[in-house]
Symmetry: C2
Subunit: 391 residues, 2 copies
């Protein structure tokens, strides 16, 4: 096959619209999309450093950090944010307590182990939140506690404020995966005394994927500075990042276009206001559940306070053809994500982050489902539910 033929065979540009309802990536914010093609500058350009400083400032606001916390964008996706925390803050032989009630908690445990930690696990059944009392019971002698705030794999919100309250008195560092929460859910790094947090640009901020915004407390930076051995991970070494972001010396090439887009998306989020965004995601969640409940969809997560507003995990109706319906949706340029591992075929995980937590993209879903399932009245119900929520 020649290159030309291959090219003709590639349909990746065929659709003019695509409705992304996945738990990430999200539809890109229009301002971010515009910024993506700004005139290209080098990573050492004074205007780029100025933009980076503005991003650092806005990240402190988003994460609710102390004024001197170090914030930055890693040149990679959310998992690199996770990795950078363990790489910089764990030394061989450290005891690390990891809360695992889903795929991303398990990923944390695996990474911590790879960097030489003795990993202790606190678990909870799938679909249930971590019990803070379990953390308290295993805290003795631990150097770090790690927890996923919003467990994307099951739609569970872990009680980070309560866990933080317990960890605070122990002297351990607290690492929080804020991938599906920061920018859309309450997150108060300074008040809670979180030491390291990260997310992915493509989640609650609806920027393009490829950047991991991180925040490091002063305490965590001091712990890093006291390391006995350098971290293996040169690419995300806190010192190298600080050299670039603060001292403006070369470390590695940053993805400038993604920075342009990220800056625009984060600015838009702060201008909308974090409380308004928290309200929007809740209103959208209620409208969706109200609309789909008569078809037999129900909350997968039993306890209301354990439900992650930004990833709506819905148990599918009895006998529902998960794969078949999602394939039909994909033909209509709508992406919906099912369960992972044990919840495959059991749930859908509907993304309500950033630009997906809007009436329009879910209108496309409801319209398609009404047709595919022959669910008369679904659209009418959705419009009424939106109105009831003031949307």
């Amino acid at each position: 096959m020649t290159l030309r033929e291959q090219s003709a065979d590639l349909p990746a540009t065929s659709a003019l619209e695509h409705v992304l309802l996945t738990p990430g990536p999200t539809p890109i914010h229009p301002e971010a999309m515009k910024a993506l093609t700004r005139v290209m500058l080098g990573h050492m350009d004074p205007e780029v450093f100025k933009m980076n400083s503005a991003i650092q400032h806005d990240l402190r606001v988003m994460y609710g950090t102390e004024p001197e916390a170090f914030t930055a964008l890693l040149a990679g996706t959310g998992s690199l944010g996770m990795e950078a925390g363990f790489a910089n803050l764990v030394e061989k032989g450290d005891d690390i307590l990891v809360c695992t009630n889903g795929s991303f908690g398990r990923r944390m445990a695996e990474m911590a182990a790879r960097y030489g930690a003795n990993v202790r696990l606190v678990t909870a059944p799938l679909g249930e939140a971590i019990n803070p009392a379990d953390v308290a019971a295993h805290l003795d002698g631990v150097q770090m506690v790690a927890v996923v705030h919003g467990e994307t794999s099951t739609g569970v919100l872990n009680p980070v404020p309560e866990i933080a309250e317990i960890v605070r008195h122990s002297g351990a560092l607290l690492t929080v995966d804020a991938v599906t929460t920061a920018g859309m859910e309450p997150f108060y790094m300074q008040d809670w005394e979180v030491d390291y947090a990260y997310t992915g640009a493509q989640k609650c901020l609806s920027a393009p994927p490829g950047l991991a915004p991180i925040a490091v407390s002063e305490r965590a930076f001091a712990r890093y500075a006291a390391r006995k051995t350098p971290t293996p991970l040169w690419y995300c070494d806190f010192e190298g990042l600080r050299d670039y972001w603060i001292e403006h010396t070369y470390h590695h090439t940053i993805p400038v276009n993604l920075h342009f887009a990220f800056e625009a998306a984060l600015r838009a989020a702060l201008e909308e206001g974090l409380p308004n965004r928290q309200q929007r995601v809740r209103q959208m969640g209620r409208a969706i559940v109200t609309s789909l409940a008569p078809l037999g969809f129900s909350h997968y997560v039993k306890r209301e306070q354990d439900r992650l507003p930004t990833v709506l995990a819905l148990r599918l109706p009895e006998g529902f053809d998960d794969a078949g319906v999602r394939a039909e949706l994909r033909k209509r340029e709508i992406s919906v994500t099912g369960g992972l591992g044990p919840t495959a075929g059991v749930i859908w995980r509907l993304g309500l982050m950033g630009e997906s937590a809007r009436p329009a993209p879910y209108r496309a879903l409801m319209m398609a489902l009404e047709d595919i399932l022959g669910a008369d009245g679904l659209m009418r119900r959705y419009e009424a539910a939106l109105e009831a929520q003031g949307l």
Copy 2:
């Protein structure tokens, strides 16, 4: 300062054009820029997997690999490509020979050491290429040899084919930094028996920064598979990458927009033809040197065969105001890069990679220099030199 005021203060979008003559990033290829804003898809979408397969195919062509070599894009910049090689192919206690005749060779040595290697160095004076005989002299018992093909920091091309010929008989793996060469300089991974190579998307392909294209020989993959301990670097673990790129199971979120752009840029490069690109960069280099020589600029690298065509290192004329002239250029939206460390103030490093190796961007430079330096006739000389080169 309010967010609004900060925003008004940010000039990053002010210019409508900017001429990037740095040794990376390069001006983005127009097809790549267009692709960057394609309709967004998820990282598990069938169309994305199809695109990724086409990228893998085209990368095999670009690197000149064996048919079964594993190719992929890492979600990070070139330095992550460097790091992934050492992370996956080095185990604690391995003896690694690193060729260091500039900043990027030294970076390789530092990374190898962080992953526990015993590092031996083969060096050469700045501005000179590594002598293959020095590699031969230190090869005994070594598990891997690492060399930078084009040393961006000094504009030196290291003799990779000759080094490869020596390493081939030793059983050691050969890692080559192809950051300023692959896609624009001859690179024959299979013929030379290179085991691991990487570059950055923003270099010779003029795609946006944020991706590191890698190629792994079957022999290197087998060495990886025989590791006694897992690599610390989960994010770039070859197994995890293969799961995603070949088996299509989730590993981490990829930067889909950057993949769109990269695919278009690589396709454009292969359609232009690698030999044509190699010719273009040489013609441009000669035209630039012919034009600037009468002003006192001269090759920093003495021996012709040691000169890296894609990064033209020019010694500045006696008494030349490096910082002042570059600041003047920057005011006119032209970015030129000086030396690094010991060559700061001594050289300029003019990028001739991808879209910067074209008459138009250097026309902007010549016009500005004629004005800033009062160098009458420079533009006329440049046009004549282009014509002489058939450009």
